[in-house]
């Protein structure tokens, strides 16, 4: 009961953000964090639940952005069509890629995901006829939201688009929660904890790694679509390695293998570098120091100490269920 009240309170707070935050810049940060929440929940499925370090995730995000942008520019598809198309398209790309690389593990898997990301960047850069190369694709617009009987709503204002992103983040969270609590999600964890043993007991590691990989990529694709239409411009810079780095920081320092952790991580590590602008040229050094200290003292992520501090013991089932 009190758990439900706490959830409702958090939801109410999240809904109140545009009413309280009047500064467009901070609202922008909230929107970007929301988009990252969608993307890193997807990354957490493969990194946190199945336990394979994928560095292709930012490429999936960028591919989703490009898919949605190209559909808009070439075929005039609005974001309402572009977003599911991006999720499906990127999910399918991950399925094909996964068919090859999910047979490898460890270093080899990591290296191939990096190579894949670089390849996709080369495609976006060099397929000039389609993607306009370095010039990118500008002029992406946000669609109107037409509600039957209520007319249409302009979501181009930040304070309106915030709710679209909030809804997307909540849907992504609920989907991931349903997945990780299902028998499929429990098999993810068994594969992560001891793959040879899980296989010897009848669980196909390949199949469950594939499910996590594809679902995670589809979420990244959806997030990419939101990002493209929000920012209004995509370019090959989206494939830069720094994006996958920040996503991994969000997942790992948030608390991989939980859902609340990476979601909190997405918000925290979107705001932190921006808030550190006050420190001007000390900014990145301070950020790096915070990351190192957090890694040393909270190896399982911020969510575990946070849950220990905030949540009464009787609500907690176990560490595994902490979030």
């Amino acid at each position: 009961m009190s758990r439900r009240i706490a959830t409702l309170a958090v939801l109410a707070l999240l809904c109140a953000v545009p009413l309280v935050v009047r500064d467009d810049y901070y609202l922008h940060l909230f929107i970007v964090s929301g988009i990252f929440v969608v993307a890193v929940l997807g990354l957490d499925l493969i990194v946190g639940y199945v336990g394979q370090l994928s560095l292709a995730h930012a490429a999936f995000f960028a591919m989703g952005a490009y898919t949605s942008a190209l559909l808009f520019v070439r075929l005039q598809w609005s974001m309402w069509l572009g977003l599911p198309a991006a999720a499906l398209g990127v999910g399918f790309a991950a399925f094909v890629l996964g068919g090859v690389i999910l047979r490898t593990r460890g270093h080899r898997f990591i290296i191939i995901t990096v190579v894949f990301a670089e390849l996709m960047k080369l495609v976006a850069t060099n397929w000039v006829d389609m993607t306009r190369g370095f010039m990118g694709l500008p002029g992406l617009a946000l669609p109107k939201l037409s509600l039957p009987g209520l007319g249409s709503l302009d979501i181009t204002a930040k304070s309106h688009f915030y709710y679209v992103v909030l809804l997307a983040a909540i849907v992504a969270f609920l989907l991931c929660r349903a997945l990780v609590r299902s028998s499929i999600g429990r098999k993810f964890v068994l594969v992560r904890e001891n793959e040879p043993l899980a296989e010897s007991l009848g669980i196909s590691a390949f199949r469950y790694a594939m499910i996590a990989f594809v679902a995670g990529a589809a979420l990244a694709g959806a997030a990419g679509s939101l990002y493209a239409h929000y920012v209004g411009f995509v370019s090959p810079d989206l494939f830069n390695f720094s994006y996958v780095t920040i996503m991994l920081i969000m997942v790992i320092l948030g608390g991989k293998g939980t859902l609340v952790g990476p979601a909190l991580g997405a918000v925290l590590f979107t705001f932190l570098p921006e808030l550190l602008r006050e420190a001007s040229h000390w900014r990145m050094i301070t950020f790096a120091t915070i990351l190192i200290v957090a890694t040393l003292f909270m190896p399982k992520g911020i969510v575990y100490p946070l849950v220990a501090y905030l949540v009464p013991r009787r609500w907690r089932l176990s560490d595994a269920h902490a979030a």
């Binding site: 098999k187 899980a198 296989e199 669980i203």
Partner: protein, 244 residues
């Protein structure tokens, strides 16, 4: 009685090393077959071939008269051929029930937790459900491994040195457990160095040396086979003599 699991002419070559040379074996429901032999004789390779981790260079494995030697390990486990490992393999950080439920989850059992609790009760760990695997003693972890395998509802259970490193009382418990499983109709293939255990519960014993089967028969017959004494038991006896 029809054979539940059969290996025919199993041969495994690792580069220049012939790890198994044309080994035949068969086990029927409700039977305990022990595989003994010196270290490096090929016993674990035999387990790896039967459970699909290693493809035989030649020969076939039949389960219920169907060839399974080309199937993936998880498929073979789903059919009902389940193993434990020589080196303890558990889901370290997970609560016992979550880990033991793996085999039941793999078969899409309606109530994996119930299957897990049953399996834990069968091996006698029902009082330790609140612990995680890594909090158990070594002996209890060996029992946990058997519970993990049982929750997968095997028809053939392959146990790789279940009594290794156990004291006298613990290995007596293992013996009783295997006897109970046999009574339930399981076919058990046992690799074990503890000769008290092997002699106490085996219906048949096969002896492997340098990848080759050198003897097969009842425990008494195998014990008195000169080639076996030379290859294996003789060493064991002198060790015993020295220990006394």
């Amino acid at each position: 009685m029809p054979m539940l699991l059969e290996g025919r002419g199993l041969t495994v070559r690792f580069g220049g090393l012939l790890a198994l040379k044309g080994v035949d074996l068969a086990v029927s429901a409700g039977e305990v077959l022990s595989v003994i032999g010196p270290n490096g004789a090929g016993k674990t390779t035999l387990f790896n071939v039967i459970t699909g981790r290693v493809r035989p260079t030649a020969g076939s494995v039949l389960f219920d008269a169907q060839p399974i030697q080309r199937l993936a390990p998880f498929r073979i486990a789903q059919l009902g051929v389940v193993r434990t490992f020589q080196k303890t393999e558990v889901f370290g950080a997970l609560p016992l029930v979550d880990g033991v439920a793996a085999g039941a989850l793999a078969r899409n059992d309606a109530d994996p937790e119930a299957r897990a609790r049953e399996a834990l009760a069968t091996v006698g760990l029902e009082n330790k459900l609140h612990l995680s695997a890594q909090q158990l003693s070594y002996g209890d972890q060996r029992l946990l491994e058997i519970a993990q395998a049982l929750a997968a509802e095997p028809k053939v259970l392959l146990l790789d040195e279940p009594a290794s490193g156990m004291n006298h009382q613990e290995s007596r418990h293992i013996v009783q457990l295997i006897v109970d499983l046999r009574a339930r109709g399981l076919a058990v293939i046992l690799v074990e160095h503890n000769m008290h255990v092997v002699m106490a519960i085996s219906d048949r014993v096969i002896v492997i040396n340098y990848g080759e089967k050198i003897a097969e028969g009842s425990p008494e017959r195998v014990r008195n086979e000169p080639r076996v004494i030379e290859a294996y038991l003789g060493v064991q006896k002198t060790q015993h003599a020295r220990a006394r």
